[in-house]
């Protein structure tokens, strides 16, 4: 095997951050759902709400723990895999990550302890406040990390002195051109991921116990939230695409597999981009639609990949990851609207649709990963777009070290991912079967089983 250290370093970093992103994409939005349930319990005191909270706080704690431990890994991976990045861009990346730790990590970690275990140790208002502080913490964390990620995509507010970047305006660094769009896009993506998780697990429970009220209520919540967010996401995604066209035209050219600059570019529904012939094989396309979407004109001009020499991302990968993301998004739109209409008209969804929701429990993950791969691979060959090349920042660690640890991480993550999904279904089943209290937390096991 020819081991290319750069590719291995990218694979390892990609594996780590790809595994990590799964859990924040659930917890950012789920934290707000729990805060809502908490308030409802305080004011309405519904029995279903308590049962729902009991299940979802467990799901949250589990997802959060996985997010924390994989997040700790990330703070080390910058240095172990991309020492050159820290060397050249550390002056900008460092403070943004520093603020994430200071304003988000401690807040969410500390109040999660109170939220999970402090019910009978603090007043009710303090307990509810803790739920909100956890939610604020998870969102603040997303704010800072997306500020950094967006800055790497559309850098501004800096100057280069002796090969190192220095910030000239922190406002310009944080509120860089792609930040508002990316932040909105990711927050809504988290909402959709959590909504489909809630709907999927609830549907799974209803397939076993059709009259289980907490699941009926949570299914409604998941479906309605998704039905509102799915079209909003398409709108924000479109704005994000226009922003990318303005600042990273090479990424758009790769996403649409446009090799030569053209007017009235077609939208490719299916194609095999071929980098040898620099053309697309087996293309099925809608004439002029790509130009229409991206320039809002039928004969709008789109820049082709040839304008960027070899400084453009690999085409086939982003072409496909983008289509997977959009495909899942459209599926979410269809499933949530169908469910919403049925719930409004008949107040119930048929078993077939319950199966669909169960199948789509983790659909948000697929869309998030595909979207994230699109934007990050689409930034290549740069690590900071137009400023620093990825290849110039890689570690000089021997390839065999990277390969060995890559296998170690991959094995650990495979174990965790399988366990996560198995345990999630188990606790959902136990809760629906009426045995939820037995598995509340450490120590509870012995205390509450007769």
């Amino acid at each position: 095997m020819s081991a290319d250290p750069l590719l291995l370093a990218r694979a390892q970093f990609g594996l780590n951050i790809g595994f990590h992103i799964l859990f924040p994409s659930i917890t950012i939005a789920l934290a707000w759902i729990l805060a809502y349930l908490r308030v409802r319990i305080e004011f309405a005191d519904d029995a279903w709400c308590k049962a729902a909270y009991r299940l979802w706080v467990k799901v949250f704690a589990l997802s959060f723990a996985l997010g924390v431990v994989s997040g700790i890994t990330m703070s080390f991976q910058f240095g172990t895999n991309w020492p050159g990045f820290m060397n050249k861009a550390g002056n900008i990346a460092g403070p943004l990550l520093g603020y994430e730790v200071l304003t988000a990590f401690f807040l969410e970690a500390t109040f999660l302890g109170v939220m999970l275990f402090g019910r009978d140790r603090v007043p009710a208002w303090m307990h509810t406040l803790s739920a909100f502080l956890v939610a604020i913490g998870t969102s603040a964390s997303a704010f800072w990390i997306l500020a950094l990620n967006s800055w790497m995509q559309t850098p501004q507010g800096f100057e280069m002195i002796d090969g190192q970047l220095h910030a000239t305006s922190w406002m310009a660094v944080i509120f860089n051109p792609s930040f508002p769009y990316r932040f909105a896009h990711v927050m809504i993506a988290s909402g959709l991921t959590a909504a489909f998780l809630v709907a999927g697990i609830s549907a799974f429970q209803l397939l076993r116990h059709p009259d289980f009220e907490p699941a009926q209520r949570m299914l409604r919540l998941g479906v309605f939230v998704a039905a509102v967010l799915a079209p909003l996401q398409i709108l924000v995604g479109d704005l994000h695409g226009l922003n990318t066209l303005e600042h990273q035209p090479a990424k758009i050219a790769a996403i649409e597999a446009i090799w030569e600059t053209e007017r009235g570019a077609p939208l490719l529904l299916f194609a095999m981009p071929n980098k040898q012939t620099r053309d697309n094989d087996y293309a099925i396309s809608l004439p002029q639609v790509a130009s229409l979407i991206l320039t809002h004109k039928f004969d709008g001009e789109l820049k082709g990949l040839s304008e960027f020499g070899d400084k453009h991302p690999p085409v086939a990968q982003v072409f496909w990851t983008f289509r997977v993301m959009v495909g899942v998004g459209l599926l979410m739109l269809a499933a949530s609207w169908l469910g919403a209409v049925l719930l409004i008209r008949r107040r119930k969804v048929p078993r077939k649709l319950l199966w669909v929701y169960s199948g789509m429990t983790f659909s948000g993950w697929i869309a998030v990963l595909a979207g994230w791969l699109t934007t990050e691979i689409g930034r290549q060959p740069y690590i900071v777009y137009g400023v620093i090349m990825t290849a110039d920042t890689a570690s000089t660690v021997p390839a065999r070290y990277i390969a060995t640890t890559l296998i170690g991480y991959a094995l650990a993550y495979a174990l965790l991912l399988i366990s996560y999904m198995v345990v999630l279904t188990q606790i959902a089943r136990k809760e629906a079967d009426g045995k939820g209290r037995e598995v509340a937390a450490p120590g509870a096991l012995r205390a509450q089983v007769p």
């Binding site: 700790i72 275990f117 120590g443």
Partner: protein
């Protein structure tokens, strides 16, 4: 007057690392002691650290975060030199962190697997961190002797964490478990003392600069309270634990406080050895520091936020004050 920001951030990083070692130290220590207890006791042991571990680990992220923010050049050098040790620690931390959840939420044999992984992860983290410490104080050497030294420090640190864990349990538990925690405290204290002694002896040989810093007269005289007070603290632990065992004392918190002292003294000694280097004899804090405008930006935020963090951390420990109870999620 110009603020010496690299110096301030060195102090902050030291504070974060010390806070991490003590706070995550006691919960890792509880994990290391886990196989010695019965299943019911294990649940109580985990319950005594359940509300805290997450925030405790955040101090590690802060420590590494400051290294990254304030000393980006050293961040790259240190972490790529410790590549394998860091990877081992991370995988161990991951396994242990998720075991908190999985060991109660999984069913059947999975449950005992996660219980075992909780121990393996805690011990692995401690050994890997000891190895990292060994790498930092010897300036990242190679060779079989160095690897042996890494293991030695790793086991010493695991002993130290077990000491913090056992004395923590002595405060937080009652009955049988409390009595056993006292027994564990003594054994762990002896192991930790051996570890501290080994590191203290080996470190000066790793670097002529460090040798000079400690053994030049009259500095030796000024520095002598440090090892002496450490020895007194160890003796104090053995004595106070014995008095607790005999029922001659009610000060359950004393062994834990003395254990924390030992960590503070050991940390002070190491900090003195290293300063002002981040990479021994190669890279000083001023050479490795980030640009002034970046440090200033974070410094302002730190001044505002750090007191809040300390405030709500204290709040959280007060909420869960007293003997541990079995953990249940409230409704």
């Amino acid at each position: 007057m110009e603020l010496d920001l690299p110096l301030i951030f060195t102090a902050l990083m030291g504070l974060a690392i010390l806070a991490y070692v003590i706070l995550d130290g006691f919960d890792l220590g509880v994990g290391i002691l886990l196989p010695l207890a019965t299943r019911a006791e294990q649940d109580m042991m985990v319950a005594s650290i359940g509300p805290f571990w997450d925030a405790n680990e955040t101090w590690l992220v802060l420590g590494v975060g400051i290294l990254l923010v304030a000393f980006p050049h050293a961040h790259g050098v240190i972490l790529s030199s410790l590549y394998l040790e860091v990877a081992l620690m991370l995988i161990a931390l991951i396994l242990r962190g998720v075991s908190f959840e999985f060991r109660v939420k999984a069913s059947g044999w999975h449950q005992s697997m996660w219980n075992d992984l909780f121990f393996v992860g805690s011990l692995g983290t401690a050994v890997a961190q000891g190895a990292m410490l060994a790498g930092v104080i010897t300036g990242f050497r190679g060779g079989p002797l160095f690897i042996a030294f890494e293991f030695l420090v790793g086991i010493g640190l695991a002993g130290g964490y077990a000491l913090l864990g056992a004395t923590w349990l002595a405060i937080k538990t009652e009955g049988d478990l409390h009595r056993r925690a006292l027994t564990w405290s003594k054994a762990a204290a002896l192991l930790a003392a051996a570890g501290v002694a080994a590191i203290s002896v080996a470190t000066p040989f790793a670097s002529a600069g460090i040798m000079e810093k400690w053994f030049a007269w009259p500095r030796l005289l000024w520095l002598s309270p440090l090892p002496l007070l450490t020895a007194v603290a160890f003796a104090g632990i053995l004595l106070s634990v014995t008095r607790l065992q005999r029922g001659a004392s009610k000060r359950e918190w004393l062994p834990f406080v003395l254990s924390v002292w030992i960590f503070v003294f050991a940390f002070a000694g190491l900090a003195y050895s290293m300063f002002p280097y981040l990479v021994v004899d190669q890279l000083t804090i001023w050479q490795a520091a980030a640009a002034r405008e970046s440090l200033m930006f974070v410094f302002v935020g730190t001044c505002v936020v750090l007191p809040m963090i300390i405030g709500y951390t204290v709040f959280s420990y007060r909420v869960f004050w007293g003997k541990a109870r079995s953990l249940t999620y409230g409704e």
